[in-house]
């Protein structure tokens, strides 16, 4: 429910930035565009200091005299003051990682930000460019699924499983990725716990089949391969990096989130062990 409202808010901010309206001050229009770009960058996996730098640079390119930006993982606050002392301050509540990491979009947004800084584009035209890059997602939908298949399989082998474990993990990982496209009423923690529960059940099922066919199935290895897709290991590493770069608050938030997610995964998986593992062994 909450997510739906947030999406509507994003849409209204978008339409505000793209429609030309002379009643809004220049500072207001500039800041709308800068925040739209910053928000999109946060969505697709940009770092905190990249978002802050980008917003500041765009405002300066439009002739701002004074810029203040504060960003954490869920909020962007910014104020901009022009030469004629007109000013604007806006806040964006950022819906976290709804779309997942999208490096293709990140690259496009970065190119747009460079273009804004070198050519002088009208703020509304720049906003339309950002909107177009966000909506026109040209990346083939099957490739991430194939990636999940390859990644889960090879990490099962990486952690010491045999080839059968790799194949089983690849299948489980692909199914988990399919399930992970969660409905909007469920929050991320709950959906991760459910995903890892289903993943654990599937891993048990496939290993059980494998051991009947004479292939040695090692449930732990199947599971750790599939878990690599859900586990927030990268965000744990990046959280520590944020901490060391001086973005203390964002780093701390991300670390707490990563630890809680890992706990949810462990919870879902141990439920699978207790329910199914006990019955089968």
């Amino acid at each position: 429910m909450e997510n739906k409202e947030l999406f509507e808010r994003i849409k209204s901010a978008e339409s505000l930035a793209t429609t030309e309206n002379n009643s809004r001050s220049y500072a207001d229009r500039v800041l709308s565009v800068a925040l739209m770009l910053g928000e999109s960058l946060l969505h697709c996996g940009g770092e905190i200091n990249r978002v802050e730098n980008t917003i500041e640079r765009i405002c300066r390119a439009y002739g701002a005299k004074h810029v203040e930006v504060f960003t954490i993982t869920s909020v962007i606050i910014a104020e901009v003051r022009m030469e004629d002392n007109s000013y604007s301050s806006q806040i964006r509540r950022v819906l976290q990682s709804e779309m997942g990491t999208d490096l293709n979009l990140l690259e496009k947004l970065n190119a747009i930000s460079r273009r804004i800084c070198t050519e002088s584009i009208e703020p509304e035209r720049a906003a339309k460019l950002i909107k177009k890059a966000r909506e026109k997602n040209s990346y083939p939908a099957l490739l991430p699924l194939l990636g999940a298949f390859i990644a889960a399989g090879s990490f099962a082998v990486f952690f010491g499983g045999n080839l059968f474990d790799g194949l089983a993990a690849a299948i489980v990982g692909m199914l988990i990725t399919l399930i992970d496209a969660r409905p909007s009423f469920m929050n991320k923690m709950a959906s991760t716990a459910i995903c890892s529960f289903i993943g654990g059940c599937l891993a048990y099922f496939i290993s059980y089949l494998g051991s009947h066919l004479g292939l040695s199935g090692n449930v732990d290895m199947v599971m750790i391969g599939a878990i690599m897709l859900l586990i927030p290991g990268v965000s744990f590493g990046y959280a520590l990096r944020d901490l060391m770069f001086g973005d203390t608050l964002s780093g701390a938030l991300k670390i707490i989130q990563a630890i809680l997610l890992a706990a949810m995964i462990a919870l879902g998986y141990s439920l699978a062990i207790i329910l199914i593992g006990g019955a089968m062994i």
């Binding site: 979009l105 490739l143 590493g237 706990a263």
Partner: protein, 154 residues
Amino acid sequence: MKEVIMLISATLGTLGFTLIYKTNPKHIPFATLGGILSCGVYLFFNATGLNVFVSNFIAMSVSAMVCEIFARILKAPAVIFLLPSVIPLVPGGSLYYTMSNLIFGNYEAVVFYGKTTLLTGLGIAAGMITASVIMAIISHYFLRDRKNKNKTIA
């Protein structure tokens, strides 16, 4: 032999994650190369007997430096190459084992895996920062990169 299998599977795993992160197909070979490099350097230094923190630190510094060079050559943000190339080092397994042992009450294992997770994460973060500071110093003093002169280090 074990190291060779790990290196090959880490390469494939990095390739898989470049697809999950929707990397531009043009950049996939370079991002995967970063992953091979970080995993290879880590395995090499780990085999010589260095501890988890130091081997992760060296592996990440080397591969992050190479990623920054790719970023300058291909004119793309460094994070596009960095994010996939961290994957083989990421403490995903040990983070999971920490929490799962916590749930089952094996507190000795919690301490062991928690320590590994924290040291690996710190090593990765320290490596990234070292690489970006070195690159910032090089571009500030040697490349006379006037456009980036106002950019703060790291």
